[in-house]
Symmetry: D2
Subunit: 337 residues, 4 copies
């Protein structure tokens, strides 16, 4: 840990801080400069964090040297983690495409969409039963009824299922009906939910919050792992920026950055990441090219009547085109599809 002291700090004041570092069993170092004194503190940074020097009146800034996450980092666990989601492995050689509608609207709608997904070669189904919506007047999902439809159609199509869970108290019920629990962007820092997801032991798709730093995403994953669940799939889904041409800015830089620093699989959601149907196919290709382990794509049997996210949902024929066009890119990336 590097501690820059304010100009004008006396030697005694600096020495007092060094003593606090020593009291914790860590080793202080002093670099006196002409305009600022800089201290170093060697030792476990999580122990040093207890000093809470950020608030000290003589401290200008504190810079940790080590990353604050551990269980999910590559320094701790160097080889790739794979996550088995109902028989399909995410993070291995094969690219995994999870597709389906934003919301489960009815058996007919979900069944028709699921068949289209399977026929085109999709590997798993997504569909929301509990929908966090910005407005209280928007459709909030079918709830438990939706979960049952999800489970039934999953069984009938023999595809694993992914669905969102929005509250710790729901984890057990959702876990009973779906193969994978999704934690949505709005809940990436809902720590109670992360802990409950960790305790469930189920595979988790953890979506990046729409204004989360990548380090914060890894710390959210650390919450899940810390409760004993290493089955975490990170998902880049676009961030909020000034750019108004697209609903979100898909931050594909995140894919190789995360893969270099964490052993967890990383997938990309080009539907939310763009918000525009016409951009989904090119950005799906880009995601695969930069190293994503899979995709999360919105498909609807009739987007013009979708109850939510219609403008970014693919038609079945477009999803088929996506899957076909993806193959050469998957191969270029050394993957099968």
């Amino acid at each position: 840990m590097i501690i820059v002291l304010k100009p004008g700090t006396t030697e005694e004041q600096a020495a007092a801080i060094q003593r606090r570092i020593e009291e914790l069993g860590c080793k202080p170092l002093c670099m006196p400069g002409t305009e600022r004194v800089v201290l170093g503190a060697l030792g476990d940074e999580r122990v040093l964090a207890q000093l809470r020097l950020e608030g000290h009146p003589h401290v200008e800034s504190v810079k940790p040297i080590l990353s604050p996450y551990k269980l999910v980092s590559r320094e701790f666990h160097s080889h790739d983690t794979t996550v088995d989601i109902g028989g399909v492995v995410v993070g291995g050689e094969r690219l995994v495409v999870i597709a389906g509608p934003c919301s489960v609207e009815s058996y007919e709608q979900f069944d028709a969409t699921a068949r289209a997904v399977r026929e085109a070669g999709g590997h798993a189904l997504r569909g929301g039963a509990f929908k966090p919506r910005t407005s209280p007047y928007s459709f909030q999902g079918l709830g438990h009824e939706g979960l049952k439809i999800l489970e039934r159609v999953g069984a009938e199509t023999a595809l694993p299922t992914v669905t969102e869970v929005v509250e710790g108290a729901d984890v057990a019920a959702v876990a009973e009906h779906a193969n994978v629990l999704q934690i949505g962007a709005r809940n990436m820092q809902n720590y109670r939910l992360l802990q409950a997801a960790g305790e469930s032991g189920k595979p988790i798709v953890l979506k990046r919050g729409f204004s989360a730093e990548l380090e914060e995403l890894l710390l959210a994953a650390e919450y899940v792992h810390d409760r004993g669940n290493p089955n975490i799939i990170l998902c880049e889904r676009g961030i909020r920026t000034f750019c108004s041409a697209t609903r979100n800015t898909l931050d594909l830089n995140a894919v190789p950055w995360l893969k270099a620093r964490s052993h967890l699989p990383v997938i990309v959601d080009p539907s939310h990441g763009t918000g525009l149907r016409e951009l989904v196919i090119p950005m799906a290709r880009a995601a695969v090219a930069c190293g994503a382990d899979g995709l999360l794509v919105e498909v609807h049997c009739d987007p013009s009547r979708a109850w939510s996210d219609g403008q970014q949902s693919l038609y079945p024929a477009q999803f088929d085109e996506l899957m076909r066009g993806l193959r050469p890119f998957a191969e270029a990336a050394g993957r099968s599809l």
Copy 2:
């Protein structure tokens, strides 16, 4: 609602959309231009939203005319709402200053800080017992123990208390010990929590999410109001931008914007809004000058040893300076303090 059709849409295709508008009992209007056809739809926009035209293949964009919130809007309720928080009224003529440490750390720490707040003229106490923290390794709050300290010190100093609640399941317990429930920035779109807060009937401080649009903040408030609780205080606490000089960018534009569109009181948190102790006093003054109904300020009896947010917490003497210096600005704004 204004519906811009894609270039190349035929008259028949446009007519089909107009028929869907009519089927809902609304009135369609057609504005054929040289390059685009534009449709208008007159009627209740929440009914029109059921058409979900965003996903329609011939629709380029949809622009609602009316705001999507209703209960919290001034159009619905033109005069200012006041919220009574344990005998102190927020939103009236008097400026209200709520102050205290980020976290309740011990009886001694909270008591010492509370006395300093009261002596300087603060009107209510803040202090967190459940702390949502980015890292699982950071101090997470004292939990129920903290609530009891909060309640005891509140009673001893005769100051109303504000504390954060992070999950719907905790609302009842927290409501028993505190006068006001705070919903933090990370939870602004935790809809289950908003609904539980709505059902509690308790006064709510609703903090703006760090990348929430102002309209999204009002929709979050609408969730609370929709469950029968009009006792909502909106809080601007800084947004996340590219600007790295400060922890957040305090968006004071939000204050007059929200006051013009909503009848709810608006307070400002200059501590999180800047992240730097030295900026708290000037930004508190600015908040009052642009019309805020109150402030939420972090004060700690010894910031150099605070367990969280030390770098933005005021020393007791600085809080005293804040209160004294605020008076002429409050008066300039036509307020008492």
Copy 3:
């Protein structure tokens, strides 16, 4: 153009605005709703812009229907434009890779780097002689000396050259020594420079400003085209967001969005778009996968001693790896390399 009037606007006031629309030879339309009156105005939007209704006291908002750019739009010119940069065609079937150091530092440095670029299969050379630098104390480029080195090495390696121009007054001199003029991100809205670049007739690489909307980039290109120069290559190079893990957020959504709306070629700069050497290769692949017509890459014969941008410059061996690894992605995208 759609004009939403403020609540409370009277019929007479609305009629007065309609008369102003008619006076311009355009056709007004009125959509009276229960809470707002909405006006439509049919006709040339650039004529309608003269009304400047945004400032009118009874106007709440104005929404143009047509895009404000024309010469660079696909609606005006549907097939792809190709730009010949000294014998290499950008925007055609072949992917074009422009590579070289951030700055021309010496004949030896630029020559060594250029040979490495040519051997690995690069198609054109980049190198800055006039460097816009954030600090007045940073290296500002070799100036005219640098231009001469650029020209000499370009001739010796038979590679076309791209270099930045920072002021209208320099355009003629720079145009004499280089094949392509680059307008940098900081100058995307330097309209005098855009006009001078337009008048030069030379091929232009126009980089997106680091907080420019895509529509603003197209309007900047419109400035160049409006002066008679259609030889414009758009360049996505990352935008400034809250995300601090990377120097910029590479907005690859921009590639298919721009290609759909404009006939101009689009290239991507993964060096500035990430700021981290390790991310350049994966993001170059992603750029090609989503449809970019080429790449602009920083390579240096010895990045550890580069005078600028060393941390994002590839070593020659890495550039060779980039070129080799790119081939299957180019083929998947239906391109040759």
Copy 4:
């Protein structure tokens, strides 16, 4: 300067970097940790910058300790600088209000507006003759004709004048007709223009770029000062964020942050900083409350017909209200008006 080495760097590799530090006459220090080696380098940071260690293959990150600006910093020059703009002093005890239309449109328009400004108590006139506009089809200003009107009306009303200059080549001509040169947000990093402004010796209003870090603003000012011109007034005018409710997000945190770090006066433009007429008065008050030395406000004799920025221009009666309402806030801030 703090240099964090990558994990796995050997002792010899670290020693080689230390030798390069020594060769520059600076003093290296080594802090070997369990997972990373950290080096310190003591000495002039601008000398150390020549090492360009950011690009070194064994270097993970470099953190400078000292600020990169010098002439404009308080550490260099501790007391407040005042800038005389044609007899009016900015940065002293008196708050200075500069007001006028976005563009000089005609003698009649500018004269009528200027008289309204003077009658309400404004201290200086603003008005653009050269307008940098996003679209080539928008009104670009009256040019030299506009400068003459500006000068004539300035003389007739006895108010100093401020006008924008957009290119180095124009500086001399503009300087002849106006008291103060404004460098606009789009040109904050137009370094040639900054240098020309520096050489002119005229008072400069330097507006913050709409996505400029505060440190970048100070470095832009350093460019001007470095050419011998200390007469610089910094201007916060709003930044570009995700927030779409307002045209820009006025970053008032910037005011006390800049005043603490620089001796230059700081003014605020609440017109561009909000983009909405209704927010100008409250935000002007907030700016004064947090320590601004003055305001730059758009006023127009008839905003409903303004050729640019009508929606954010005050009516003369509103400007009068602004000036009157500002007085108690100025007094609360220890200023006269």
